[in-house]
Subunit: 335 residues, 2 copies
Amino acid sequence: MKKDRVTIKDIAKALNVSVTTVSRALNGGERISESTRKKVEELAKKWKYRPNQLAKNLQQNSTKTVGVVIPEYNHNFFSMMLHGIEDRARELNYQLIIKSSGRSYEQEKENCFNLSDLKVDGLLIALSQDREDYSYLNDIYDEGIPIILLDRICEDIDTSVVITDDFDGAFKAVDYLIKNGHQHIVHLKGEEGISTTFNRYMGYVEALKDSQLPFHSDMVISTEVQNDWEKALRKMLNDEHRPTALFAVTDYIAFQAMEICKQEGLEIPKDISIIGYADEPVSIYTSPKLTTVKQPSYDMGKKAIEILFNTSDDLKSEHIVLETELMVRDSTATT
Amino acid sequence: MKKDRVTIKDIAKALNVSVTTVSRALNGGERISESTRKKVEELAKKWKYRPNQLAKNLQQNSTKTVGVVIPEYNHNFFSMMLHGIEDRARELNYQLIIKSSGRSYEQEKENCFNLSDLKVDGLLIALSQDREDYSYLNDIYDEGIPIILLDRICEDIDTSVVITDDFDGAFKAVDYLIKNGHQHIVHLKGEEGISTTFNRYMGYVEALKDSQLPFHSDMVISTEVQNDWEKALRKMLNDEHRPTALFAVTDYIAFQAMEICKQEGLEIPKDISIIGYADEPVSIYTSPKLTTVKQPSYDMGKKAIEILFNTSDDLKSEHIVLETELMVRDSTATT
């Protein structure tokens, strides 16, 4: 039952005119009579003709596509970023080709080259790590494909970035704890080699410094190895001088910390306050509801598309930093 | 600093051979000497030549792309489905063009036509609702674009589907509650007009019937209007003959129901058992951890790609139903 799609050849044949004439009529070209144009348009409409977008784009030397590379789909931060990218791209009539890297450097590199081979008009990348060699991005950039980095900066390439102010977000969270009387605050630190990890850590350190509170490196627990950090936290919670507050690098780490605190017999927020980072939608369903730092991920995506198509002349200049917001809920209290 | 990408013209010029010769050398064509082939290959490698994939696909009358339309990115169910689709598509060297509809029928329709205009080699769609007219999918199908429906069936088009057994998933959940002594079980029902809503509801009804328990329509609360269902549930919880268990159409409805139960002074699972649906990753972070029905969304995505590229001769025959699994956690107990 399959029938072939109507082509301009079919229309040309039916009207006994040339393919060029049909093409001119449908693409608003010159040197064609109004009566012919009308006849072509009417038949094209009747037969539900739709142009072969792919061939059209190729002619125009633009694919009208934007490549997007993210670490993974199943994190609200990236999902919302995708929605922002998509909404703005749709308004500008661009298609997205989205790829995830599964947090693998090799896959990410393959994705980027692959999108470059598809001749996308621009590439938006949320890097999965930044301790690797990203100089290959310069090759893609030099081929004339604009690149915009989202969320994470990398020093191998000098291009536009759209990030949130992680330092400030962390500073605000820890400062809020301090203003509520907490002096012994532990930081559950993220994976090493990622700019967000570093910036949140620095925000924590500077907030303590800013209030003349002492900083000890043993107040920081790295969450890179699951069993190790759980063990380290449990030990700390059972110490005579246990912390009164935790600042976690992500909401998911905060959720796990909440469970551990409960298992160790502590009440949240009576015995211990906890702040997460990201404002995952579930943070209002945990018990108690999680105080966390909200990142404008939807706006980040939107902004990335906007600078991609506005600044093609001076691509290296844009460095957009969006503000975060502290969402105070029920997992924090005064000491 | 931008430099143009190396083309086969550049290579031809440098080696003083024709473009056709270079093309033959790089695409494994005949009628070319081994020494020329070698020279071309060496220079192509040295200059990091990469073929223009878009033009190549167009020649081969395949775009090597698959269009994917989902309601939204920020639901774990769809994210995991995307990962399954992507992993399998990557193995087969297909690109994905993913679009979300934001649960809008008009946007969904536009997305589908748009992907059809891009001449995708296949279309995977997770419909956002099914009370609308989806006969337009037949037009796309008739143009020769295979369509596979994911998660939700719609009667307007006779094509392959990959779904989970929602009836059975709901049946298992309610049957588990019954086997644990619950006789007064309330169903928090989903949005009308969606096949998953209907099948989960029928699973609930049939599980009661199967155990000779009475079914009353006032034991079902529709969650379509937020304020209404909250009010209805609160009223029921304060009734003399209050339910001992709730079966919610989604995890998110279950999370909200947990909050409402707590606010009404009930302990979970001591006073009331709650089961959700979907196994959102956060269901292990709520307190208590949520008992829920796990759907194989990753496998659904993988399967969809597999049937897309295996059954092009007989596309209308595939009707894949994947099994669910009841994840028993801490929100359920015996009466």
